[in-house]
């Protein structure tokens, strides 16, 4: 097995056993990255800086100061600001921007320092491509070009964390960070055959994470296995007083349930006692037959591990699309008002006064989709429309959150699709923004409610594209979700497959 096919857990052992050094491992990945530029997974790489970190990690290990992740390379979504590497959120408006500080996530996973002695010591390989300001479901909204799906380079990677997903799927990073506002970790993970988790809102600090929709944005890892996601999330999640919505009870070992049974009901069946709910609204019109079929097989696999299965209802599923596409643009229009061409970012060359400077700088700097969402947001917040749109959406949001609690009275985990279908062709949906919005139907509601949810590989289409299943849990149940996913991965091999050209 080549190095890039190994999980973080396996690389951690290899580093401990001195089979490879962090310097050698990082060099290996940097060479693969240089050979795979056509995929457009990375926006900024600085090999010298990466290798300096790798040397530092090797020194820490020699001194006996290494933790489980020390020296393991990682790619960061370009939505996290980082000292050294340029940060653009894939927008022209931030072209060339160098942050004076690290995002909390970058800092916690990076090299230990006097200020952060307990940082994980991972080596940053670079910043990954994404939809501009995380607005999109295909990565085609990046100002720096789309990311190609390594399973079929004519297909989209999914979005908005498309670069992170492709970096892991193509063996250009063992693991990557992502963010999820309406499915942006789970959907690209599903399209690329990976495992990803969006934790409960508030688990991971948003400090230094470029804001899209602040009441929905949440960071999480994208990796090959549930075990890797558990290791990463444990290092990413902690209380951070610099984010006022960071939960005080955030830090925990998310890997603690991985290797144990759900209950002590049946020694031979690790998931005995687990109740899996299938929301009938998820298995309805619009779901492709191939995805439905793969979910059926996954459900049977969970059943043979001891889980019981029942039908549940999430009646407002369809409405999560309009609710999300009111609330997220409203928050975005406010968040993105900071880009004024004064303190940082693009400034237009010609203008006659201050207002024109704002208008031209923003119009030149933002892409089509970003402008569209700002316009929608300004409209729903404007006088005369606030009650009908914004307030009504916030009220239905509460109904959606309550519907989930009713479902969790009947089950522990909800099983459904991540997306209606597998990755579509590049250009296929990019002309019609509304058509793209409809693709988010199964992922939006968990962001609206703030619930944790995962994407786990569960099959392939006839055309050879990965299919993901979604596991949704109740608030703070990440460790249990990861346990279900890990037990499933012990009896399935979908997560271990590689695209043909990556297998070498």
């Amino acid at each position: 097995m080549s190095w890039h096919q190994k999980s973080v857990a396996q690389l951690s052992k290899a580093l401990i056993n001195k089979e490879i050094s962090s310097f050698e491992l990082s060099t290996y990945y940097l060479e693969r990255m240089a050979d795979s530029r056509n995929l457009n997974a990375y926006l900024d790489t600085l090999p010298e800086l990466s290798l300096a970190q790798a040397k530092e990690a090797d020194t820490l290990r020699a001194q006996g100061k290494a933790g489980p992740l020390t020296g393991i390379p990682i790619a960061h979504k370009d939505v996290f600001v980082s000292k050294g590497w340029a940060t653009t959120a894939a927008s022209k408006i931030l072209e060339g921007y160098i942050s004076p500080f690290d995002a909390a996530v970058v800092e916690a996973l990076g090299m230990p320092s006097e200020r952060h002695p307990h940082a994980a010591g991972m080596v940053c390989l670079g910043k990954t491509n994404m939809d501009e300001f995380a607005m999109g479901s295909s990565n085609e909204n990046s100002a720096y070009g789309p990311v190609l799906n390594p399973w079929n380079t004519k297909c989209v990677s999914g979005g908005s964390s498309g670069g992170s997903a492709v970096a892991v799927a193509a063996g250009l990073a063992p693991v990557a960070t992502g963010t999820d506002t309406g499915g942006s970790i789970r959907q690209p993970a599903a399209f690329c055959g990976l495992t990803g988790i969006k934790p409960t809102y508030g688990r991971v600090s948003r400090y230094g994470m470029i804001a899209y929709a602040s009441s929905l944005d949440q960071a999480g890892p994208i990796g090959k296995t549930a075990e890797d996601c558990a290791l990463l999330l444990s290092a990413m999640s902690f209380h951070d007083p610099r984010d006022s919505t960071s939960l005080t009870d955030s830090g925990e070992d998310y890997a603690r349930h991985l290797h144990s049974s759900w209950s002590d009901k049946d020694q031979n069946k690790p998931l005995a006692g687990l109740r899996v709910g299938l929301p009938k609204e998820f298995y309805a019109d619009g779901l492709s037959s191939e995805v439905a079929q793969a979910l059926l097989v996954a459900k049977d696999a969970l059943h043979s591990l001891g889980a019981s299965v029942c039908e549940v209802s999430l009646p407002k599923t369809q409405l999560s699309i309009p609710v999300y596409y009111v609330l997220a643009p409203a928050e975005a229009s406010s968040n993105l008002s900071r880009y004024d061409g004064v303190r940082y970012g693009h400034r237009a060359k010609e203008y006659s006064d201050l207002v024109q400077m704002y208008q031209r700088s923003r119009s030149e700097g933002f892409g089509e989709e970003v402008k569209r969402r700002i316009l929608v947001g300004s409209y729903v917040l404007s006088q005369g429309y606030y009650d009908a749109y914004y307030l009504q959406a916030q009220k239905i949001r509460r109904i959606i959150a309550a519907d989930f609690q009713a479902a969790f009275n009947q089950c522990d985990v909800i099983l459904g699709p991540v997306a209606p279908d597998v990755a579509w062709n590049l250009g296929e949906k990019s002309k019609d923004p509304l058509q793209m919005y409809l693709e988010d139907i199964y992922t939006l509601s968990t962001n609206l409610a703030g619930l944790p949810a995962m994407s786990v590989p569960c099959g392939f289409s006839k055309g050879g594209l990965p299919i993901g299943m979604q596991l949704i849990g109740n608030y703070f149940s990440e460790a249990r979700l990861l346990q279900v996913a890990h037990q499933y991965q012990l009896v399935s091999d979908w997560h271990l497959r590689y695209p043909a050209e990556v297998s070498a």
């Binding site: 009441s215 007083p241 004064v342 940082y344 400034r347 009220k395 959150a401 509304l434």
Partner: protein, 97 residues
């Protein structure tokens, strides 16, 4: 929604749209608001809005910290990305005649 409203919200958004851009975005916005209109069918008269997901499970604490200096002066670093600056000030077009 009509073209005048598009220009109005563009102004509120501090965006400059050419006539062609405004014409192109109008049908897209119309389609989005047709979708959004589905929300009006829901009776929410007895429902409180949920502005933040954590409010569904607990009160949002207002975190306070001691009023002490935590950051040191780093003006040069913090201003390094400014498009125009002079002696520690951000430069903008004249606003007071």
């Amino acid at each position: 929604m009509d073209i005048n409203e598009v220009h109005h919200i563009a102004k509120l958004s501090r965006l400059e749209l050419s006539p062609a851009e405004a014409e192109a975005v109008l049908p897209q916005l119309t389609a989005i608001f047709a979708l959004v209109g589905q929300m009006q069918a829901v009776d929410t008269s007895s429902v409180d809005p949920l502005p933040h997901p954590i409010l569904f499970i607990r009160d949002l604490a207002q975190p306070l910290r001691p009023d002490t200096v935590t950051e040191h002066e780093a003006r040069e670093n913090n201003m390094a990305n400014a498009p125009a600056q002079d002696r520690g000030y951000f430069l903008v077009p004249r606003v007071i005649e």
